[in-house]
Each structure stands twice: as structure tokens, then as C-alpha cells.
């Protein structure tokens, strides 16, 4: 906000403030608003206006989605994957974030931070194929189990929803940790001490003070991981072994093999609406939690 400056600093006239905002605004319009509006328009047109001269307004794409159980089921699987991934990331990420935020020694913090960031830099495809190597019939997990004599037959991990969730959680948990540890680090440790001094056990102090005060981090981290997980494409295909269908896969098929842009756009819009509804509901629940400021 360039126009709102502190005392003594030169105040910009309104017009120049807008001028300063122009690059950001242009980026927003070009890369967010235009594609979104294009997609929304396509989802209610009978054909691609670039190819078909006079497309009509139609709701048939949406009707097709709502009439066919197959699409609704895919939507449900996508959301379910997103929710499971979010919960698993939260359960794994919270303790690590707490450790990262509260580690006294600088070395511990640096090492933890590197451990969190290093996998992120390897890229999603590499990590997905690493999981493929872990899961496959003669992979690391089955190999170890057989070597220990625990299993006779390899366990079929690939193609199971749990395997996809574990891989997704592994890939997206750094986002959860980074978001959470930032929030937790800003909670004054003296608040926990105050709670202890007033008779709370360390567990009670955590539940009564630290956890509620880290709600904003839980909220932000969960939304981030959820959004990333429901739009994931590579990992569900590779680890799901084409056994698990998610909405992003359907969208891709509609575009690449059926050339049905309108239907693909409608699928995207439906996913967006469902996600927004879930986010809204989550926000409301969290706002009523005791910790929300």
C-alpha cells in the first residue's frame, strides 16, 4: 500500500499508487482472471468458439456430470484422497513443525530445515518414481519384508489408495511443516510456562495453549496441502497404477483424447466449487475453535 505511509514519508498521490500496482494487477488478470473466465465460459458453451462458429449456451456438460454416477464417484475419490493426504500430512507435520520451531540449538534447526527442504528441491516426478521403487513387487519394502521372512508373496502396494495417500503426504508434507513452524515459532513459550505454573501438565499446556494458538497455521497448511493433493496428477497415476481415477486425470483425458474442452472445463469448475465449499466449511469450524483469535 504505497499511498498509506508513515509520518514524514512522502505520500504518493492516488494515481501513482495505482501505477505501482499495475504490474501485479496485470499478472493477476493475465494469468489468473483470464484463464479462469475462459474456463468458466467454455464450460457453458456447446463447442469451442475457436473451431465452431456459433456456439450456444448450454448446461449439458454439467448435466452429464450430475447424471453419471461415474463422475460423481471420481469426484468423491479425489476429495477423499485430498482429505486423507491432508490429515496424514498434519499428523506427521505437526510434531516435526513443533520440533523445528522449538529447537534451541541452531544446528538442529538448520539440519531439520534442510531435511524438510531437500526433498522439495528434487521435484515431484523424481519423488514419485522413488516411491514406485519403494512400492513395487521387488522394491525396497517388499524386498525387506521377504528378506526378514515376514511375507511369502509380495504385497500389492501399487494401485491402492493408501499407497497414493502416503506418497502424496510425503510429497506435500514440507508445505505443512513450513507453514506450521512459522506460526508455532511466533507463539511465546512463556504462555506454556504460565499454563504449567498454573497447574497444567505439559500435555494439558500443549492442548490448552499451543494447539489452539497454532490453529491459523493448521488452517493454512491444511488448505495448501488439500489444494495441492486434489489437483495432483502424476502421483495418483503412477502410484495408483491407473487403478485409481481422479478428476484431474479425467480432465486431461477429455482434453487430450476426447478433445471435449467444454466438458473438461465443467469438470474443473465442479472440482473448484466442491473445494471452495469444503474450504468454507473448514474455515467456519476452525473459526469456532477455542484458539481462533
Amino acid at each position: 500500500m504505497a499511498a498509506v505511509t508513515a509520518h514524514g514519508a512522502p505520500t504518493l498521490p492516488r494515481s501513482s499508487a495505482w501505477l505501482l500496482l499495475t504490474p501485479a494487477l496485470a499478472m493477476f488478470i493475465l494469468f489468473f482472471a483470464v484463464p479462469f473466465l475462459t474456463m468458466a465460459t467454455m464450460s457453458v458453451l456447446s463447442g469451442n468458439p475457436m473451431v465452431v462458429p456459433n456456439p450456444r449456451f448450454t448446461t449439458r456438460h454439467f448435466e452429464r456430470i450430475l447424471d453419471d454416477v461415474y463422475y460423481l464417484e471420481t469426484l468423491w475419490i479425489t476429495v477423499r484422497l485430498g482429505l486423507s493426504t491432508t490429515i496424514v500430512s498434519l499428523l506427521i507435520g505437526y510434531p516435526l513443525a513443533l520440533w523445528l520451531a522449538r529447537a534451541r540449538s541452531r544446528t538442529t534447526r538448520t539440519l531439520l530445515m534442510m531435511a524438510v527442504l531437500a526433498p522439495m528441491m528434487m521435484g515431484l516426478v523424481v519423488r514419485t518414481y522413488a516411491w514406485l521403487a519403494m512400492y513395487s513387487n521387488r522394491g525396497v519394502i517388499n524386498g525387506s519384508l521377504a528378506w526378514l521372512g515376514l511375507t511369502d508373496e509380495p504385497i500389492q502396494f501399487l494401485g491402492s489408495e493408501a499407497a497414493v495417500v502416503v506418497a502424496l503426504a510425503h510429497i506435500y508434507v514440507p508445505f505443512m511443516i513450513l507453514t506450521l513452524s512459522g506460526v508455532i515459532a511466533r507463539i511465546d513459550t512463556r504462555l506454556e510456562e504460565a499454563a504449567r505454573g498454573l497447574g497444567a501438565s505439559s500435555a494439558a499446556a500443549f492442548l490448552q495453549v499451543t494447539l489452539p494458538l497454532s490453529m491459523p497455521g493448521i488452517l493454512a497448511g491444511s488448505l495448501l496441502v488439500f489444494a495441492l493433493a486434489i489437483s495432483a496428477y502424476v502421483t495418483p497415476i503412477v502410484i495408483g497404477n491407473y487403478n485409481i481415477q481422479t478428476l484431474p486425470m479425467l480432465v486431461y483425458q477429455q482434453i487430450s483424447s476426447s478433445f471435449n474442452l467444454g466438458f473438461a472445463a465443467a469438470l474443473g469448475i465442479v472440482l473448484l466449487i466442491v473445494a471452495l465449499l469444503l474450504v468454507g466449511a473448514y474455515n467456519r469450524v476452525m473459526a469456532r475453535a477455542p484458539g481462533a483469535a
Binding site: 504462555l191 510456562e193 497447574g199 494458538l213 477455542p290
Partner: protein, 355 residues
């Protein structure tokens, strides 16, 4: 320190407490103190001398490297904070920002599983005690600094702690509010018969409020005693200098006189030989006509303080001295440049241990 009966049933004893953070000198170094039940006890000292660390060890937030903390007959050193029965008021109040004032005050009672109706009554009483009735449903961020401080106090005393620990609770307040809160704290202490350890680096605050004071320096207790004793009989240069304005005079002692660099003799309360130092409070110095006192001095500056005048004087041998005199004393001779005589009683100067 042995347990004595009577008053000390729930006395708090710190025995040879030491704590080092592994970076150079220990933060607390062999501190032994005994705080009687119902006593208002202050820890006073400059920044970084180990006051907070001492208090945190008593509260159980920091484990001592060696030494013991006893409450009455019980050794509480191994107990976690929640089982020590102490109330703590933090320097920054540490109120729970996500809870209302009533919930903040009720917290300790809830943790103690006190029945709900009783919690309500006791919270109401505690808030009335700190004069915050009507603020129950606000959040800490909606209160002023002084009000937050009183909530912190109410939250700590509502659990009826054996000892109330305060870490510079008034540090963030302006002077006027500070004085008002000092008064309120003192009243509360008297009414509830609390045992209190009060950390401050404000010597005036410690002098006016405490039953006894421990002056700390670099992790050690330099002197422990009643305010009057500390003020009138500081044991060394550090204490004399830290508590109030003082003149420290160094010279060569021979029997009952201290030979000063300016060539005059200062009578000593007790015989000494060799290098010696005394502390002399400015208000002990009295004025007399030139030549009639112990030494003559020239007025350098006269500062009007309201009820008194603070004189900056220069003695023979380029030595400075402060004197505080009633404002009506010899009004004419208080102009800069004037010469006057100084005198005091033989037992006004206090011998310091570290010459």
C-alpha cells in the same frame, strides 16, 4: 539452614543454588536465601545479574545445576512447575490471548479440577480484588497495560499459591501507573498474607515495597537485609552505589581517621589501617560556615528537587561530592561558586568491605 518452627512453617529456602547456561560465567552462582512465610522479598540487581534465572528455578521452569529449593519441610527441587504451588506474574504478563479475562483467571482453578460454581465465585472475587469487575468477557488485547497486569495478578493469586513470584511486573508501565500499582500490590500482599518474591531492577521500588531485599550482582547475592539496613549499611561499593545516590570516598586510614587525597581528615566510625573506603549518603551531609566543618567545599551546581536541593560540590584535591539539603538551608550560599563548610556525624560514613 535448618528449619525453624513458628513463622517459617511454609518458608521458602534456596540452598546453594547454581545455574550455568554453558556460556562463560554462571548465571546464578551459589545463591542461598530464606524467605519467610508472608514476607515481601525482593531480588534487586542490574540487568543480567541472574534475577529472572533465580525466579525461574524457584518456579520450576529451569532446573538448577546444583543446590536445593525447599518449601517448608519439602524438597521441591525435583517437582515439575505444575506441582510446586507457586503463582507467577511474568514481566510481559503472558496472558492467554485466545481466552477471555474470566477464562484466563479461571485457568489455574480448572487445571485443579475445582467445581464449576466455585470457579465462578472465586474468579469473580479475584477480579473484584484487582478492581476489574465487568471486564470478564474481554480479551487481553482489549485491555490497557495496567489492566493486563492486574489480570496476570488475579490469575496468579486466585489459586492461593504458597508463594507468589513476580518478575518485574511493573516494568512496562509508566511512572504514575507504576506507583499506583505498587501501592495496590502492597495492599494485596498485606490483605492476603502472601509470601512474595518480587524481582525488580528499580531500587526505589524495592526499598519502598519490601520487607527484605537481596541485592544481586553477577549471579551472587551481594547483600541481603531489610531496606533500611541495605540503605544505611551497604557492605560494599557495589551495593552502596546501586542503592540510591551515594558518595564513595577513598583514602589512607590511620586509626580513626581517613587521610583524604585533598589533605583533609575524615573521622572513621571504627579504626583501620591502610587503604579504606567509606560511603556517605548525600542527605547525611550538613552545611556550616566555611572553616567550621570537617572540610570546605565549593558549590559547582545546585539542583532544585522540590523539597530539597541537591548540591554538586567540589572538595580539595578535585574530588566531587553530592549533598542533599533542605531547601531553606542557607539559601544564599547555594549559588554556584560559593564556598561553604561540610560536616556530618562520625558514624554517618559506612566502611566498605572492598577498599
Amino acid at each position: 539452614m535448618a528449619e525453624t518452627g513458628g513463622q517459617g512453617a511454609r518458608a521458602l529456602a534456596l540452598q546453594s543454588l547454581s545455574k550455568s547456561f554453558g556460556n562463560g560465567a554462571p548465571a546464578v552462582d551459589n545463591v542461598s536465601l530464606r524467605i519467610e512465610e508472608g514476607e515481601f522479598f525482593s531480588l534487586l540487581g542490574p540487568s543480567g545479574c541472574g534475577k529472572t534465572t533465580t525466579l525461574r528455578m524457584v518456579a520450576g521452569f529451569e532446573a538448577p545445576d546444583s543446590g536445593q529449593i525447599r518449601l517448608g519441610a519439602q524438597d521441591i527441587t525435583p517437582l515439575p512447575p505444575e506441582r510446586r504451588d507457586m503463582g507467577m506474574v511474568f514481566q510481559n504478563y503472558a496472558l492467554f490471548p485466545h481466552r477471555t479475562i474470566a477464562e484466563n483467571v479461571a485457568f489455574g482453578l480448572r487445571m485443579r479440577k475445582v467445581p464449576k460454581p466455585e470457579i465462578a465465585t472465586r474468579v469473580r472475587e479475584a477480579l473484584a480484588l484487582v478492581r476489574l469487575t465487568g471486564f470478564e468477557d474481554r480479551r487481553p488485547a482489549q485491555l490497557s497495560g495496567g489492566q493486563q497486569q492486574r489480570v496476570a495478578l488475579a490469575r496468579a493469586i486466585v489459586i492461593n499459591p504458597a508463594v507468589l513470584l513476580c518478575d518485574e511486573p511493573l516494568g512496562a508501565l509508566d511512572k504514575k501507573l507504576r506507583q499506583q500499582m505498587q501501592f495496590e500490590l502492597k495492599t494485596l500482599h498485606r490483605r492476603l498474607g502472601l509470601t512474595m518474591i518480587y524481582v525488580t531492577h528499580d531500587q526505589e521500588e524495592a526499598l519502598t515495597m519490601s520487607d527484605r531485599i537481596a541485592v544481586m550482582r553477577a549471579g551472587k547475592v551481594a547483600q541481603c537485609g531489610a531496606p533500611r539496613e541495605i540503605y544505611d549499611r551497604p557492605v560494599d561499593r557495589f551495593v552502596a552505589d546501586f542503592i540510591g545516590d551515594t558518595n564513595i570516598l577513598d583514602g589512607e586510614a590511620s586509626g580513626l581517621a581517613l587521610l583524604m587525597p585533598g589533605g583533609w581528615r575524615l573521622p572513621l566510625p571504627e579504626a583501620r589501617q591502610g587503604r579504606a573506603s567509606v560511603a556517605l549518603r548525600p542527605e547525611r551531609v550538613r552545611l556550616c560556615p566555611p572553616g567550621a566543618g570537617l572540610v570546605d567545599a565549593t558549590v559547582e551546581e545546585a539542583n532544585f528537587l522540590g523539597d530539597s536541593v541537591l548540591l554538586k560540590l567540589s572538595l580539595p584535591g578535585e574530588q566531587g561530592m553530592l549533598a542533599r539539603v533542605p531547601r531553606h538551608a542557607e539559601a544564599g550560599s547555594l549559588e554556584p561558586g560559593a564556598t561553604l563548610g561540610l560536616t556530618w556525624q562520625a558514624d554517618d560514613p559506612v566502611m566498605l568491605a572492598d577498599a
